[in-house]
Point group: C2
Chain length 483, copies 2
């Protein structure tokens, strides 16, 4: 798409057509494209730079908890998938199969991994002998494939990038602790780095991972009031250890099964960033994740001013290099065009510099989130800009928290529940008796799903009746329409 | 493999059985394992940490030349592979095909990418409109699949990890310049970071990439005298641009084809590291690439000493944190066992600390490459250790250069050529008339292939006759048996 084409079609108002707005932002900001293979995507350099920042920040958090990275094969023998009954049932319909290789039909078809519990379980069984080998704390950054009928860039594609962590432990308690620890890593990453407030909690039986004892997730609220699951962590208990015979000799001389966990976050997170922070002008990126934290736009009208401004640019670049991620836009477009372009692409701060600024030894800083302008002396820039970026980061988080609070409802009445889901969307928090059939019925009647049973429950337990069954409530649960 | 099993079988002498030694090192150092899927490998955490360091160092070098990262799909429609005739001929026999997905037979089989020129070419055709969009300088870090009959860990597996760069340019000259620039990136990475001396040059017509006008490569000499191609850079001229219609409107108003390039380096580089630097004690890693640059081994005999030494460890760790990558081995194994273990795993420097060292406020540093010991005051460690690591890095490079020089031969006599290849291996440099048939004949008769026509040619041109055909030589060429 060249510059002109890009602006033939103006960005639609997100309040008029949210899904069109989303797709336009993805395309206009050059984040991703559909691939010629159905349901697959191409992550373009600007989108991939966001992913690289997510990777860097998450990877550091993983490693701080003792996790190391490794790489397991893309292909999984069919027989492996079949070793854990719930797992194969959950994933079989979505699998892509390799049936020919090197010019021959394969004896056993190979699944292109939809997730790697099985192939990793097979290795762990070989690597673990004694309790001294435990825990195993391994993560991999890779691609996975799940054949999807309905696709949306970043949100649901047949191939996507993610990380999947897989750990093996001596006891069930230790596995549970690790499962919750990794959810906490996701929560802190989402809130502190991505500026996305999330509800952390447990998934219902209906919504848990195929093969898990228990699944935890973080749930975020998108700009259109729909929920998005932004990261999950599974306690697999002994399920995969039994399927793959992951046993160890304990200090008491007994052979025991390991307890395992798995946890993942994917390129979906980029979809969440778009939908939580984006506005009428397009993308808005939190400074810690933004490929460019600032864009320098030089301004001049007369040729004689150009030289003056270009000279100051060099000085600016020298000051900022290594301190913030920035881009200088010296293209032939007009300043106005550049302002729109970089706002649309979500750069947190714009640095304007014209001949008068050079004369005053200052620049103008313009925030993407609230358009606030300030004039800063060039000498103060290396202190002020990082500070301002941190202010933008915090303000973006606060703005998202406020939006979520405004769009979170509490009701004890199922008719009101239905009305909220149909008319307002948002998170709806209710008293709940953990009943799978009731959950299915609600999904059928309202399209809302039980997103999560929050860790944060009323002190002293829940009193009162389940919103649907009228049975004594055991917890509070959050429902929403979801991506 | 638990500790005991690992040492039941002692490391074979590399002079007795090089390929067994190689496989043992890969397994004992826990770099990689064979996967249950034929020809695929599992890269274990220690091996993957080497790959992460390679990625970090190479990625920085790429970005310094203006390259950005992106991600293109794993699957390639069959019709795409067929658009460039030489390309499909070169790769079709090695392709793995997905024929079923989501429970249905696919209308068109999808190749699991063996390389991505075709799918990227398709995107470039959409992205490039005008000369202002050029150059496109994109790289991706990904997995590729080439069905292999004979496999060896890191050297030749059906799936491997690599990076593939793909650029599009306005002119053939610019593409040629970029092709050589990226080869130079590989050369400097190999020599400066991996401490592997290489010969840079051009591939013969027989050995070039399927679809390229010209392929350049860097060739390294392994410890057994066989060559290994460690990185390649291809000038694709207009070949793929014509196949995929990558055209742009030039400033003269004419529509023209782009000139494109591609270039790659893979996990094979880990095989090269093992074979260039390894010795009788196992792996030897250059400090810039080593997951741990130093290992701290505490030593005590009596329990009362333990406390003293452990106290000093904390201080040591505090001093080194953030300055070098290190590991403290506080396992229950004996110091002797630890010495062997970390030598075998190639850690460049060992730091020994016992009660007497604590008393003297010093530690003992032992180099992996030449076993030289030195006593260093703990206060001087943060200065001395990085210095020593740099000395080891340089010494390892020099050692590899000397080995290569000792194993590089020059001959004008084909009988002698045959004898060298059969008895000594090594690089054999000869006068050459660039004749494909002669090259095939030599391969048939000696199993040696033309590795590269070095950039470094005699001043004033080559005089004399081709070693095989007797025709007037046009260049000097390097032959070798190769991996």
């Amino acid at each position: 798409m060249d510059e002109k084409e890009k602006y033939v079609e103006e960005l639609v108002d997100l309040e008029d057509d949210y899904s069109k707005w989303y797709n336009q932002v993805v395309r206009k900001a050059e984040l991703a494209d559909y691939a010629p293979v159905r349901g697959c995507m191409i992550i373009r350099p600007y989108g991939y730079a966001i992913w690289e920042n997510i990777q860097g920040l998450l990877d550091r958090r993983f490693k701080e908890t003792g996790v190391v990275n490794a790489y397991f094969p893309l292909f999984i023998p069919r027989s492996f998938l079949e070793k854990e009954a719930e797992h194969v049932e959950g994933f079989a319909p979505e699998v892509a199969w390799v049936t020919r290789g090197g010019g021959e039909e394969l004896e056993e078809p190979l699944a292109v991994r939809p997730t790697s519990e099985t192939i990793i379980g097979h290795s762990y069984a070989k690597w673990v002998q004694s309790y001294r080998d435990l825990p195993l704390l391994i993560n991999q950054w890779n691609n996975v494939v799940r054949w999807e009928k309905r696709t949306a860039l970043f949100l649901r594609t047949s191939e996507f990038l993610w990380q999947e962590g897989h750990t093996a432990h001596r006891t069930l308690e230790e596995a549970e602790e690790r499962t919750q620890m990794m959810l906490e890593v996701y929560r802190s990453f989402a809130e502190e780095d991505a500026a996305i407030p999330v509800i952390a909690g447990r998934k219902s039986e209906n919504e848990k991972f195929a093969g898990a004892l228990r699944t935890y997730s973080i749930e975020a609220l998108m700009g259109d009031g729909k929920a998005l699951q932004a990261g999950t962590s599974h306690n697999l208990a002994h399920n995969f250890a039994k399927g793959f015979d992951i046993q160890f000799l304990d200090s008491d001389g007994q052979r025991k099964y390991c307890a395992t966990t798995s946890w993942g976050m994917s390129t979906r997170m980029i979809g969440a960033l778009i939908m939580v922070h984006g506005d009428k002008s397009g993308l808005m990126l939190p400074p810690r994740i933004a490929p460019y934290q600032a864009v320098i736009v030089p301004i001049w009208r007369k040729d004689k001013d150009k030289e003056v401004v270009m000279g100051a640019l060099e000085r600016l670049e020298k000051i900022l290099k290594g301190k913030v991620r920035f881009k200088t836009d010296v293209s032939e477009n007009t300043p106005g065009w550049k302002f729109n372009e970089w706002e649309m692409r979500g750069v947190p701060v714009r640095i304007e510099i014209g001949p008068r600024d050079v004369q005053n030894n200052s620049v103008v800083l313009v925030r993407r989130d609230n358009r606030a302008k300030e004039i800063v002396s060039i000498d103060a820039l290396e202190t002020r800009l990082p500070e301002l970026l941190e202010e933008v980061q915090q303000a973006m988080y606060q703005r998202a928290v406020e939006f979520r609070e405004k769009n979170t409802y509490y009701t004890e009445d199922y008719e009101e529940f239905k009305q909220i889901i149909a008319e307002k969307r948002g998170f709806v928090r209710v008293k709940w008796a953990e009943d799978s059939e009731a959950e299915k019925a609600i999904k059928e009647e309202t399209k809302a799903t039980l997103r999560v049973i929050p860790f944060d429950q009323p002190e002293g337990g829940v009193k009162g009746k389940c919103i649907y069954t009228g049975k004594p409530a055991t917890c509070e649960a959050v429902f929403a329409r979801a991506y």
